[in-house]
């Protein structure tokens, strides 16, 4: 028996070079220093994405897009054994994934892991975050409850303010003049087919780049002489720690999903007014509050345009930071990039809190 396994291994190795992979895993190390804690957050984001695939496929078994959407989610939540748990886990893991991705992004930013040669790691990561937000926006409509209805209505009215192509584009995504069964059907196609087709290969590229370049060292470690830097083997040492973090994350998800099951509101009714106290999810709260305040200060459409312009400038600056702070160790540009990151971080936390206080 042992011989058979051995010869099967050699047969495969001859054709696929398993030895090369083995050598790669053996030699891969992960740096260890005061900021090593932040190396786990990409992996945690990956875990939540895997949970999304698993629970998403399970929801697919019973979910019906189109005019039946609300009824099918109601059946999943109340008439299907553990349906509430699968749906709750899907919603909670989506939120946790946005949270871990944000932590991952800010830690990469402040550790300056975007510098040469890791620019494409930064850009593919931002691409993944953008796709994750579209995942969130499209998935939010699928239950077709009141909150979902108004979130989509407002979300699509923002691009339709853009001149010339805006209204056409929004109508094309909406598939109708109002948010209705056509909208939910095409959001479903987007959420369950198109976005995964884009996300998975981009994620593959992102992960391949991480393997190619290895973990980035923060500037404080780079300054140390090579002999003083410490690292641990990836296999099994770091992998075990990684898996321990995954276990903690799964426990957190299980507690949240089972003790705070995700709610299903009243069915969307196109003639009912928006309920008082309606507000977006936490990850859109900062943008919501900024638009709201600017709308109060600058009356008319100008407020919206100022807000959207501000977001565009901030996002472009964020994207281009690897080109601005390309390889400086502790120069002026490196400090400016850090201040810009702190400004965005503090501004988004402050406007989020302000948004919740103002409800």
């Amino acid at each position: 028996m042992k011989n058979l396994i051995h010869s099967a291994y050699w047969w495969t190795d001859e054709r696929l070079d398993l030895g090369g992979l083995e050598a790669f895993v053996k030699h891969k190390t992960v740096p260890q220093h005061a900021h090593s804690f932040w190396y786990y957050w990409g992996g945690l984001s990956l875990l939540f994405f895997l949970v999304q695939i698993f629970t998403g496929v399970l929801l697919l078994v019973y979910y019906r897009p189109g005019p039946d959407a609300y009824e099918s989610v109601r059946q999943i939540t109340f008439n299907t054994s553990f349906g509430w748990l699968i749906r709750s886990a899907h919603s909670w893991a989506a939120n946790l994934m946005i949270a871990t991705v944000s932590i991952h992004m800010f830690s990469v930013y402040f550790m300056k892991a975007y510098r040469k040669p890791r620019e494409f790691g930064w850009w593919t990561g931002l691409g993944l975050l953008g796709l994750a937000m579209v995942f969130g926006f499209s998935g939010y409509l699928l239950p077709m409850d009141q909150l979902a209805f108004f979130a989509t209505k407002v979300g699509l009215d923002i691009p339709s303010q853009l001149p010339v192509l805006g209204p056409k584009l929004a109508a094309l995504v909406r598939g109708s003049l109002e948010v209705n069964e056509y909208t939910v059907q095409r959001f479903f196609a987007l959420h369950a087919v198109i976005l995964p087709l884009l996300f998975v290969p981009l994620l593959g590229l992102h992960l391949w780049l991480v393997q190619k370049h290895g973990n980035a060292l923060p500037p404080s470690e780079e300054r140390k002489p090579a002999a003083q830097r410490k690292s641990i083997p990836f296999f099994p040492n770091f992998l075990m720690k990684d898996l321990a973090m995954w276990l903690i994350a799964i426990n957190v998800l299980a507690v949240l999903a089972s003790l705070y099951p995700w709610d299903l509101g009243a069915q969307a009714d196109p003639i009912q007014p928006a309920p008082v106290g309606i507000h977006p999810e936490w990850y859109f709260m900062s943008a919501f509050q900024v638009l709201k305040v600017l709308g109060d200060w600058i009356p008319g459409k100008a407020g919206e345009f100022v807000g959207l312009g501000l977001f565009t400038v901030a996002i472009i600056g964020w994207m281009l930071v690897p080109l601005y702070d390309a390889n400086s160790q502790a120069g002026r540009r490196a400090r400016n990039a850090t201040y810009f990151g702190l400004l965005l971080l503090i501004a988004s936390i402050a406007t989020t809190l302000w948004g919740y206080l103002a409800i």
Binding site: F150, K153, V154, D157, I158, A171, L172, R174, G175, S176, L177, E178, Y182, R186, P270, I271, Q272, P273, A274, P275, V276, G277, I278, L291, K292, G295, D296, P299, G300, K301, G303, E304
Partner: protein, 164 residues
């Protein structure tokens, strides 16, 4: 982008470069034709329900028989064409009808009897409940008004005869 002709690799004369340019432009043009031939049906296919909805008979008038029983100081939500609309019976017996779509980002507004105002819960826009004028918050314009005619049996709401 076009490459400058390289004298070492190219036979003398401009004929070769011109032919290459021609092939490039032609290939690009044919490529664009294919993209359009593919893109146009796909665009029309995706846009089809919007065309259908726009092609429906435009609603000019809605009769609301049950609205005659609407008590003073209350409002009734109804559909005017594809859009939600609101009929308010004011305490002073004045009747007002408006398209209930907020001019800010399109949420459906509500009548708040205790404050006698129209309110949008999404971003806090406030409108006058008699005229539809925007009072505070982000809305840039007044709500669209509708004409109201009262009869014995019903309330008839119609498109304004003179656009405001």
């Amino acid at each position: 982008m076009m490459n400058a002709p390289n004298p070492q690799n190219q036979p003398p004369g401009q004929g070769f470069a011109n032919r290459r340019t021609f092939v490039r432009v032609a290939a690009g043009g044919i490529g664009l034709c294919y993209a359009a031939a593919l893109g146009y049906p796909v665009y029309r296919y995706l846009e089809s329900p919007i065309e259908k909805a726009e092609g429906l008979v435009i609603v000019n008038e809605v009769t609301l028989p049950e609205a005659r029983k609407l008590g003073p100081g209350t409002a009734l939500m109804f559909k005017f064409g594809s859009r939600p609309a609101m009929l308010i019976h004011h305490a002073n017996d004045q009747w007002v009808a408006l398209i209930a779509v907020c001019k800010h980002l399109g949420c459906t507004v509500q009548y708040q009897a205790e404050k006698d105002r129209i309110y949008c819960a999404c971003h806090g826009g406030v409108y006058n409940s008699y005229t539809g004028a925007n009072i505070s918050g982000p809305p840039p314009k007044p709500l669209d008004r509708l004409d109201v005619k009262l009869s014995e049996a019903a309330v008839v709401v119609s498109r304004p005869s003179q656009p405001a």
